[in-house]
Symmetry: C2
Subunit: 341 residues, 2 copies
DNA sequence: TGTTAGCACTCACTTAAGAAGAGTGCTAAT
DNA sequence: ATTAGCACTCTTCTTAAGTGAGTGCTAACA
């Protein structure tokens, strides 16, 4: 158990290091407001805190730097929520000001704004399209043997894909298929679409049109490749501003990581509500060994949800980021859900 | 006018420097195949070439490096086209192998392949959607006061946007509007859509439905924000592999440039057929002062065209890149055009 | 007259050594 | 228990010397 004074010292060190990125020395701490004891005393406390694993030295005679355990303790016990300014609130809410209505646009803009506000990199995961429900099917013929299938979902999202038509497929055949699809599949969530199409609707189509195996496999194909939630980045290059990434190799690894969308997905905790913080090696990724990731989630209507992440150095301004993420996720949930009515 | 021997020396220097990224010395040149004269002679020639502006020294007693003018001369007069291997051809053609039919997917995949083949960064500009012609309109109501408008083009491209409905707008009203739009606007290129809608179709709609000013402005809005050709990158982080970008600041500027899609558009020459090469400061951009950009264009059917660009260090392998771009642009044109039939 | 060998010279790069400064740990006094 | 004092450590900056690659010039050569 830490003494009050140790808590105070730890807090000051983390706060100061977050601001300055420089190892914090005893003399510096002693000058801080609220510190009534001498550098020598502080040195003793620091030695203890180091022994307990909360602090580290960069070399034998340097000031102290928070360890991962130190940051962990800090975010778990010392983090007082920050109040965000009205300015920041306005900026976040400006996402919705000019009646953008596509969820994708909203998310994209949110990513940009968040990175500007934090000067870290933001990653937004769009809501999972799989949970949208089919609102309308249509098929538009393009050439003699190809057509584009369009699925509009209840959220106003549009999926479309070009597919091959079987030979001698007439416009009236298409109309029949579209009618069947619209009769049978409206309200079905995209995630069940493929199964439903394959095992229920296929039989109906066959019955009405004879066997059109080609068409069916094409259609099944169309529904199969639905993308999961899309990723949007804001401020990818903000990393360059952080002194800890004054190292080509670190930046490079991060940039390469961000190009691999499948890998980056794993930074989002599954089905976790609230704010999650992962520090350094907790991210289980070499490139992010000196990074912290803070995530929050928002939801659209019922069930569908997306995530927001901020990725920055372990030395990031946790207070501020947590406050901003908290507000933004709430705002997104509110606004996006309201739009559904 | 350069002597034969000067040409030979210049060629060897550029070729060697492209390979090694190291300043080339006279002794090194003398050992090259086809060189029959001594280092001393070569030194004299190099001094002349430097005086003429084709070579530079990094410092007083270093080997020579091609200047921008040197590269320019090299690509204009010394560049013998390279023959690409069947392996490379296969790789490029693999874009089309698994019956991907969306142009966007094709372009995206091409960007990746091109960056893998060259180990530089590729930028592909999708064909300008503005020239696509309307194939089908539809409007799907979402809530009482919003709907999504969908435009399918002759290329199978789908544009969609959510817009507000006027109050008390019934489904049958929507059907009427859709019918009018489909009667009047099929075949119209997207670039003229807004004008046409505003000055011709608007009147018809008013006539049939009374004044629905709100709907009209919404619809005009929908057609207005059509995006221009989209950009796709491949191998954004390949820059990190080039020794000349072992400098955090240079990489940073490039990365920042690539985030700004509007700025990056300017690297594509307008309406220029064939292969274009811009070297260093010819790019008119600080971040690309040490880069060369090679562009080619492809076309889809008649009129519509997109561009391919490779961006690498001025020291890039012009021979190889030119050959690859040439082949790929041809292949894209062929395949994408064929698909339209 | 064009080509080449020889040689002094330049400059980047590396290594070593010394000086300065920040900060610690320990000891002893308060 | 706290603190002043001081020796010690380790980084960083500066300076100096040594090394090597490569040039430019001069003079000899074909």
């Amino acid at each position: 158990m830490l003494t009050n004074r140790q808590l105070q010292v730890l807090q000051v060190i983390v706060d100061d290091f977050i601001l300055s990125a420089q190892p914090v020395g005893s003399r510096q701490i002693s000058k801080k407001e609220g510190i009534t004891f001498s550098p020598a005393t502080i040195r003793n406390e620091m030695a203890d805190l180091e022994e307990l694993g909360f602090l580290e030295k960069t070399h034998t005679s340097s000031g102290r730097v928070p360890s991962e355990k130190g940051y962990r303790f800090y975010v778990d016990h010392l983090l007082k929520p920050q109040i965000i300014t009205t300015n920041e609130i306005h900026k976040i809410q400006s996402v919705f000001q000019d009646r953008i209505m596509e969820t994708e646009q909203v998310i994209r803009k949110s990513a940009t704004i968040l990175s500007e506000l934090t000067s870290y990199t933001s990653i937004l995961l769009g809501p999972d399209v799989q949970l949208h429900k089919v609102k309308r099917f249509s098929i538009v013929p393009l050439t003699a043997d190809s057509a584009v299938a369009i699925i509009v979902t209840d959220n106003g999202h549009v999926e479309n894909r070009i597919f091959s038509l079987p030979e001698d497929f007439s416009p009236s055949d298409i109309e029949k298929v579209v009618n069947i699809l619209n009769e049978r599949l409206i309200g079905v969530p995209l995630e069940h679409l493929q199964m439903k199409l394959e095992f229920e609707t296929a039989a109906v189509i066959k019955q009405h049109l004879g066997t059109y195996g080609g068409l069916l496999s094409s259609l099944i194909d169309v529904t199969a490749h639905q993308s999961e939630g899309k990723l949007f980045y804001g401020g990818k290059t903000n990393m360059f501003n952080q002194p800890e990434f004054n190292d080509l190799n670190k930046v490079r690894m991060l940039m390469e990581l961000m190009e691999k969308t499948t890998q980056i997905q794993s930074i989002f905790p599954l089905n976790q509500a609230g704010i999650q913080i992962r520090i350094g090696s907790e991210n289980n990724h070499l490139a992010m060994e000196e990074c912290s990731v803070i995530t929050a989630s928002y939801s659209v209507g019922e069930g569908q949800s997306g995530s927001i992440a901020i990725i920055g150095p372990t030395r990031m301004d946790y207070r501020r980021v947590v406050a901003l993420l908290d507000f933004m996720s709430g705002d997104l949930t509110r606004q996006l859900t309201q739009k559904l009515r």
